[in-house]
């Protein structure tokens, strides 16, 4: 094996996130060590795996059959690996195999045979396979009559779940506990659907997972088992998960372990595999279980298992697929043992998903069998109480612990929230416990094992006792230690005892109550380990390690992935840590996100899997006696605590906290801009509705409204008229003295520009300018970004550089910064400035060839060289990846709130070529040449007319709604008329989309609000957009990106798109 092709997972999306950057990076390292050349295809430019230091060749191209085949043709690899790039890579690999591409080019699939993967992907065939090896799956059958149902149900036994046809989305399903109920439910279901599915109802079964590795010599171990906090019915990606299992006996643990191994052996897996079980907590025989799912690849769970145990699963799996035995692979953590073992944990790990439902208009908080969460955290403790409390804080959702639950709800409402799983269920549970609801009652409603509920009860009771004591002086050292052991934060305790966080901190430090630093060593202390993988706990009274001292520099990571903070910050964090070596510094990373590379064992000198909070950062700083902390490379989370840690006396590396604040504080920054004669959109803060309305009238609509306090829903909104403004302020926020609302003039048709730079002592050392395709008003995280900034005129660019220099100097910046500019009528305005690495840093670094993170570190040590980046002879385009399909009911229109979950970027000779590649990378496919066009407003109709002509000339069959249809008729473009729903005439736009008669939907509107989202009216526009998403049809809602797309389509056919690797461009 000389050259291996690795398929990446592409953009981050719900259900497939950063874990595959971790697994792919590990695989590449493992292959490189063996002297094998690696070729990586992954359009996700923010990943660490697409770094120069890793793969020998990187192609920023779509992971689709057409493109991968062309790369194979060019690169002629000996082997291909499919198991490190999630479902995307697996699906692509299966397709390549089925189409005979791999055979044609003589490419060997490494690891698990494709036949086994195909088998696991086919539910029915896989169930048959499992039955052959005597492994149970959920029993089910399909029937068409009540009589045959009654006959067959005997084989399964009650209770059963009866499901009507799938098209109803499970609406007409029900549970039958006996014959009488069965007859009734089946009769109803059969009136809706000719055939119904009856399956064993596994209500409140436990969900248990095993991560198995196997080598080609048939050696097999289960690296980790995990238990879901939520019972079956909540997707494991949506559930709180603990490792190891807590409520399983030896028999249950090992019985399921043995079954996992049996399954893995029967499939001939070489590498890694995940097996999920449902387990009856109240069986009538010693064990009642069934297999729910098997993933014959690295998965989210395997990334979690890897971080939870310290066993580098992906690295080991990569070595295994090269044919090594488990015993030949050294245990990377202990350095003295090998990889055939099952880690013994002496701590508990809790994973909690992070949801961002608030960001999506129209979606609900309910969670269930499909994923909605956008990220996750992992917390480590010596008790569940300690870990779960850390965990909810790590989510960065504004809570201080599991007992933060000021819900203004009745007991019945709370119980309802406990019954129906939702993103805040754990807080409803502690609320119920506070109200005196019994564990048994909560168990009956939720199915969450009483073991977990009793642990939560301990926390609730401890909080009550603390409140009863009331004052800090009445607490003994033992009392304080006890409350810290239960995971309460200083701030929370301070609030309960009416002292400040710092007062309490000083008090406990005086009592010598500080957390212990423990290692994760995979063997529970049995062997001395060289590991640098650490956590802190109050359930201990020694430290495993000695402080690094002066040479240590702490680098704060980004916490959980969420909308707006994702893998791009992990890239900057990792690159910063790596570059610290250059200056003889030892990096100490703090992060709590198991999906990241920054939490890998070999990235930093020390890794603390911990909260990115003031308290923990100060604890670690004091323990390590570090010289300084970097807060500017992990996004907004570490940036937010900059001021606090600075005031505490911790040295921040780079720009000082006071200056960070001058850029973060809207008022101060605005003043600075005025002082420097730099233009900004008119804005002001308001505490009174009438004054706000007057301001809006004066500056003219539309306006951008930002409340300082958010009740529900989106934090920002565009308002086009006084009615909308009033509506938004009343509905989404409070306007009063304590909570002002910021209103700024929104400029229509303004171009938005990103300016990324690094300065040292106020002098700009390096910068790059890129422009958005969408006009200002679309969140920069959702925008399509082009480098170089082709659409910025020379003198505007020069003005931006001048402004950047002025601001850098005034703020005395040392380190990264990002300025968002707006250009309107050749005037340059500043919208926002952040004195931290922005989302675009990895993109800019990779497309310019200058590693901005390296320059950041240089600037910290006064060694940054000034460099002017040469104008390139290529273009790169970054495009957003949306996951609207997962967010049931959410309106997919672009707006001022970010909605994308990931991004891709591709290169081309022109922006159009790069954009088309990027769109294919985010899942665009055009099955036929037909499109639906609905355009609101006269101006948009005019401005899109040319594009419509082009589509027509490209041979597209065009459908349009009435107004658009009539307008286009006047322009001489014939379109087929379709009706809006309220026309009550067919065919409707919805029919058209649902029948897949169009493969492209362009729905443009000047004001999506005006369609009625405030009035909670379901509009045609919303239905068109939502139906397109639900039917997996590409949708454009922005005029400029739609035009850009049509231009690209006009200029390039797929086969014209060049297959060139990164190094062929740069």
């Amino acid at each position: 094996m000389k050259k291996i092709l690795i398929l990446g997972s592409g953009a981050l999306k719900i259900g497939q996130a950063g874990e595959f950057d971790y697994s792919g990076s590990q695989a590449i390292k493992a292959f490189c060590e063996e002297g094998i050349k690696t070729v990586l295809i992954n359009p996700n430019i923010a990943t660490i795996q697409t770094s120069k230091e890793l793969a020998d060749k990187v192609y920023f191209l779509p992971v689709t059959t057409e493109f991968v085949e062309r790369v194979i043709e060019k690169e002629k690899p000996d082997g291909i690996v499919l198991s490190f790039g999630g479902q995307t890579a697996l699906n692509c690999g299966i397709d390549l195999y089925k189409k005979g591409v791999l055979k044609k080019y003589n490419v060997q699939v490494l690891g698990t045979p494709v036949s086994a993967i195909v088998l696991t992907e086919d539910r029915e065939k896989f169930a048959n396979h499992l039955h052959k090896i005597e492994v149970a799956t959920p029993k089910s059958f399909a029937v068409t009559t009540v009589e045959s149902g009654l006959e067959k149900v005997k084989e399964i036994g009650y209770p059963v779940m009866v499901r009507a046809g799938f098209s109803l989305g499970g609406q007409k399903s029900g549970v039958a506990h006996n014959e009488k109920e069965f007859i009734s439910v089946v009769q109803t279901a059969l009136t809706f659907s000719p055939q119904i599915l009856v399956e064993k109802y596994l209500r409140h079964y436990k969900e248990i997972e095993y991560e198995v590795v196997r080598d080609q010599y048939d050696n097999c171990v289960t690296v980790c088992n995990m238990e879901n906090f939520d019972p079956l019915g909540v997707h494991t990606g949506e559930s709180i998960v603990v490792a190891p299992s807590q409520t399983l006996t030896n028999f249950e643990y090992h019985h399921l372990r043995e079954l996992s191994i049996k399954i893995v052996r029967s499939l001939g897996i070489v590498g890694e595999c995940n097996v999920q079980f449902a387990l009856n907590p109240h069986p009538s025989s010693p064990i009642e279980y069934c297999v729910i799912e098997v993933n014959a690849r690295l998965s989210r769970s395997s990334a979690l298992a890897s971080k939870a145990t310290g066993y580098p699963l992906a690295y080991v799996a990569a070595k295994l697929i090269l044919g090594k035995s488990l015993m030949e692979i050294k245990n990377q953590v202990t350095q003295i043992t090998q990889s055939f073992f099952e880690p013994a944990l002496d701590y508990i790990v809790v994973k909690i998903p992070r949801w961002d439902m608030d960001k999506f208009k129209g979606t609900s908080e309910k969670i269930g069998s499909s994923m909605k969460s956008v990220g996750e955290i992992m917390a480590i403790g010596r008790t569940f109480e300690e870990a779960i409390q850390k965990g909810v804080r790590m989510l960065d959702i504004g809570v201080l612990g599991v007992t933060d639950n000021n819900f203004n709800l009745t007991t019945d409402e709370i119980l309802a929230k406990i019954k129906q799983a939702n993103s805040k269920r754990i807080f409803f549970i502690t609320k119920a416990l506070k109200l005196g609801i019994t564990v048994q009652k909560i168990y009956e409603l939720s199915g969450i094992d009483p073991w977990f509920l009793n642990r939560l009860k301990i926390i609730v009771e401890a909080e009550r006792e603390l409140l009863d004591v009331g004052t800090i002086n009445k607490l003994s050292k033992q009392d304080i230690l006890h409350i810290k052991q239960l995971g309460f934060s200083d701030r929370k305790i301070g609030l309960l005892l009416k002292v400040t966080q710092l007062e309490f901190r000083e008090y406990r430090k005086k009592l010598k109550i500080t957390p212990s630093v423990f290692q994760i060593d995979t063997l529970a202390g049995e062997f001395p380990a060289k590991t640098n993988y650490l956590y802190t706990t109050y359930n201990g009274n020694h430290n495993d390690i000695k402080p690094i001292g002066e040479d240590g520099v702490m680098v704060l990571g980004s916490g959980p992935y969420r909308i707006g903070s994702s893998v791009e910050f992990d890239w900057t964090c990792v690159n910063t840590a790596l570059n610290l070596k250059k200056y003889g510094k030892k990096s100490i990373i703090i992060n709590c996100n198991p999906e990241t590379v920054s939490t890998d064992y070999d990235v930093s000198d020390r890794l603390y899997f911990e909260e990115i909070s003031f308290e923990r950062v100060a604890d670690i700083y004091e323990f390590e006696k570090s010289s300084s902390v970097v807060v500017s490379v992990g996004g907004q989370t570490p940036n937010n605590i900059a001021n606090k840690i600075h005031k505490y006396g911790i040295k921040i590396l780079g720009t000082v906290a006071v200056d960070i604040d001058r850029a973060e504080d809207r008022k101060k920054f605005s003043q600075l801009l005025d002082d420097l004669d730099i233009k900004q959109p008119v804005w002001n803060s308001f505490t009174d509705m009438e004054v706000a309305l007057k301001f809006a009238r004066d500056v003219g609509y539309p306006i951008l409204v930002r409340p300082s306090y958010v009740l529900s829903g989106a934090a920002m909104n565009l308002c086009y008229n006084p009615t909308e403004l009033k509506h938004f302020i009343e509905k989404a926020t409070n306007i009063n003295k304590k909570h002002p609302v910021t209103i700024s003039k929104y400029m229509v048709n303004a171009r938005e520009v990103e300016f990324d730079g690094v300065a040292e002592k106020g002098h700009v050392k390096v910068f790059a300018i890129s422009n958005h395709i969408e006009h200002a008003g679309v969140h920069s995280g959702d925008a399509t970004i082009v480098y170089p900034a082709e659409r910025v005129r020379f003198f505007s660019g020069e003005r931006m550089i001048e402004i950047a220099k002025q601001l850098s100097k005034s703020l005395n910046i040392s380190g990264p910064f990002n300025i968002q500019f707006m250009v309107k009528d050749n005037e340059v305005y500043v919208i926002e400035m952040n004195l931290r690495a922005s989302r675009t840093f990895p993109f800019i670094s990779k497309v310019t060839g200058v590693n901005f993170a390296e320059v950041i570190v240089d600037s910290f040590f006064g060694k940054a060289k000034e460099q002017r980046i040469k104008y390139p002879n290529y273009v790169a385009v970054k495009a957003p990846q949306f996951s609207f399909a997962r967010m049931e009911g959410a309106d997919p229109a672009l707006g001022v709130e970010m909605g994308s979950t990931g991004e891709v970027a591709c290169f081309g000779e022109t922006a159009e070529e790069a954009y088309l590649k990027a769109l294919f990378s985010t899942g665009l496919s055009l099955k036929n040449k037909s499109a639906l066009v609905t355009i609101g407003g006269a101006e948009f109709k005019l401005r899109f007319a040319e594009s419509i002509w082009r589509l027509k000339n490209l041979g597209f069959v065009l459908y349009a709604t009435k107004k658009t249809h009539l307008f286009l008729k006047t322009k001489g473009v014939r379109t087929k008329l379709v009706h809006k729903l309220y026309d009550k005439q067919s065919p409707t736009v919805i029919d058209l989309i649902e029948k897949h008669q169009v493969s492209l939907v362009i729905n443009l509107s000047e004001d999506y609000n005006n369609e009625g989202s405030f009035k909670r009216v379901i509009t045609d526009g919303y239905l068109i957009r939502r139906t397109a998403i639900d039917n997996n049809i590409p949708l454009f809602t922005d005029l400029n990106s739609a035009r850009f797309f049509v231009n690209a389509l006009d200029r390039y056919k797929i086969k014209d798109l060049k297959i060139k690797s990164w190094d062929e461009y740069l």
């Binding site: 090992h254 069986p283 015993m327 055939f340 013994a344 212990s516 529970a524 202390g525």
Partner: protein, 348 residues
């Protein structure tokens, strides 16, 4: 109630009692298994030892009915955990771990930093310790060294018993046998006769097709009578399988030697390679002594993949074999249950 764990080297650890409150002493050892505390506590091999669980949260699924235990009583002298759970949740649970310890008169202590204790034993070796409950008696209680006692005599059955049915008969010499060894044989259709450690097996009326020398506590050299019995068995060429202590006894009987390890192997994740193959098995272990010198005509069967210590021996051509690990598991992985099948194939 506050209690203390006192080590022979003088270090003292404060603890919270959750078991029976009566001072006990023993050899302090740790086990890294994450499940199976009911099985471990009733494993006779732990006789005389104070067990530290490295997994911090213990008691979670309560205590099952006696039929699931590995013997009729708790054998450890004391249990040390980091967090004790008194709200167990499991359908098989009959009582809490604390109640069980009280019933069986065994002390249990919460000593939060069990990791420190583990590291101490790992670096300094297993050592004697005692659990005390008040200052007046603490100093007067001595440190009992269980390894100086014939623990096997304490835990072995006093009488001969017969279980199971089948055409073949296997005698189990009970040096502190775990019930799952007997269960594993009965499941395989074998008649099992369990005899005391010092029983003259040749006085049995039945034809003996094979012999198992069981696991058990302490120093193998204390089992002089059993060693003599095994010597006899070897001369008579009756197929023999030694497990754990039985492994060491076989080595001693055949002319090999054993030694005390620094802190032993106790856990459920010990990797054992079958010598001469690339096959590795995950095993349960619980021993403080190991085979040093391999006896003549025997060869190493398994070795530990982590520290290369011997994990079993097999005769060059006769049906004598032994393993240092526990093929019966409980607690732990069941990967090596095939050892019973392998042995049973060799029966006369």
């Amino acid at each position: 109630m506050n209690a203390r764990l006192i080590l022979k080297d003088g270090e003292i650890f404060e603890g919270q009692s959750f078991g029976y409150e009566q001072p006990r002493s023993g050899e302090l050892v740790f086990s890294t298994g994450m499940v199976g505390y009911p099985e471990s506590l009733t494993d006779p091999s732990y006789e005389g030892q104070i067990l530290i669980s490295t997994y911090p949260i213990i008691g979670s699924y309560g205590v099952p009915d006696k039929k699931y235990w590995e013997s009729d009583r708790i054998h450890v002298s004391g249990l040390i955990v980091s967090q004790y759970i008194d709200t167990p949740s499991h359908f098989q649970s009959k009582m809490t771990l604390g109640d069980w310890l009280k019933k069986e008169k065994v002390p249990g202590l919460v000593v939060t930093d069990t990791r420190y204790l583990t590291q101490k034993l790992r670096d300094g070796g297993a050592q004697l310790a005692k659990i005390v409950f008040d200052t007046s008696t603490s100093l007067s209680t001595g440190f009992d060294d269980p390894n100086k006692k014939n623990l096997v005599a304490t835990v072995s059955t006093p009488r001969v018993s017969r279980e199971g049915a089948g055409s073949k008969t296997v005698v189990v010499i009970d040096c502190g046998v775990k019930k799952n060894i007997t269960r594993s044989l009965i499941e395989r259709g074998v008649k099992v006769i369990t005899v005391p450690w010092d029983y003259n097996i040749f006085s049995l009326k039945e034809k003996i097709d094979g012999i198992i020398v069981s696991n058990g506590p302490g120093d193998p050299k204390m089992c002089d009578v059993t060693i003599e019995t095994v010597k006899n068995i070897l001369t008579k060429k009756i197929p023999l399988l030694g497990i754990c202590l039985g492994n060491q006894i076989l080595a001693l009987a055949a002319g090999g030697d054993t030694y005390k390890m620094k802190f032993g192997h106790r856990g459920q994740n010990q990797p054992c390679v079958m010598v001469g193959t690339k096959k590795c098995y995950l095993t349960t272990q619980n021993h403080g002594f190991a085979i040093g010198k391999i006896p003549k005509d025997f060869k190493p069967w398994f070795i530990n993949a982590n520290d290369n210590t011997n994990e079993g021996i097999i005769h060059e051509n006769l049906p004598f074999m032994s393993v240092q690990f526990h093929p019966e598991a409980t607690p732990g992985p069941v990967d090596t249950s095939w050892v019973f099948d392998y042995f049973l194939e060799k029966l006369c």
